[in-house]
Subunit: 206 residues, 2 copies
Amino acid sequence: MARAVAGPEIERLVQLLARVPGLGPRSARRAALQLIKKRDSLMAPLAGAMQEVLGKIETCPVCGNLDVRSPCLVCADPTRDPTLIVVVADVSDLWALERAGAMNARYHVLGGTLSPLDGIGPDELNMASLAGRVRQPTAGGGTVAEVLLALPATVDGQTTAHYVTELLRETGVKVTRLAHGVPVGGELDYLDEGTLAAAIRARTAL
Amino acid sequence: MARAVAGPEIERLVQLLARVPGLGPRSARRAALQLIKKRDSLMAPLAGAMQEVLGKIETCPVCGNLDVRSPCLVCADPTRDPTLIVVVADVSDLWALERAGAMNARYHVLGGTLSPLDGIGPDELNMASLAGRVRQPTAGGGTVAEVLLALPATVDGQTTAHYVTELLRETGVKVTRLAHGVPVGGELDYLDEGTLAAAIRARTAL
């Protein structure tokens, strides 16, 4: 802006909004103005919702999920299968898997992937408690039957998967990973060779 | 989401963020998660900035601009030319004109355009005080020399411009409007006929 047309408080609001993922400097300005116009119906409730989450948010001591209660809603849910633990790198992966709605499992959020170049080793991640969770009897008195590694299909993700597999070897638990293959709705023509090769190797009978 | 993976407070935050212009339901979820992760460096300052703006924001009694002080920063600025008043439909137009940085004027924000179909007449807009502002001596003891109508080039905008012109006729002030023409950087091939015809009529000598 050539020069200020509003007080520094508004400029500060614009600058903070510009740091929200999905908003850039220009859309932050539009968003700020709309928030100011809808101050009673949108900005006040939004600021209130933020304050409420800020006051309550916690990292779940059991699985590492972020929630406003502890243990989190997933860990506290008695209808979830306690014998399947899905290991994810990030809370966003947990949210994505739940959107798919294909499982009724518990989770373990590592908080990232191993990345020696970035100085992220096992101690920087939520790994120490995983073997303990697997060894512990489940709520129903049974045992954890399977650990599904739902980690990114990147080099760091694969390194992490390998490390977790080794970590769990002595527990004897079955460790699985997500299938590689053609994305549903995907055109073969646009797929990379690695994915195509993996899909061919893992072909299934009709 | 198939079912809740976090408490209703977080779900509410997502739903409110989805109503911010520029964010949709999906990016609101991503934004919420990033805000939660960066709660100390981003969410807390953002909530604070919102609360601060909420507590201070006012409609300027002179020009109708939105600001955290009253009169607003534009009206309170002694270096702005008091003899030129730019009439705009919306605060966002004021911000846009200031970004262009081409004027050093005062503003008058109508808060919309006349729209009989939507039940918006002169009484619903900030029009009553405009003629008074024009008649009043300026801060420097002079008089308002020009009112520039920077209104949308839509039917409602043109209706509004016509109405304001009539409203100001008895004051004798010079009323101008923005030029129509080819946008800077615009391809003629993509321009509508109305704009091209206007640009031809208003052609200037080189």
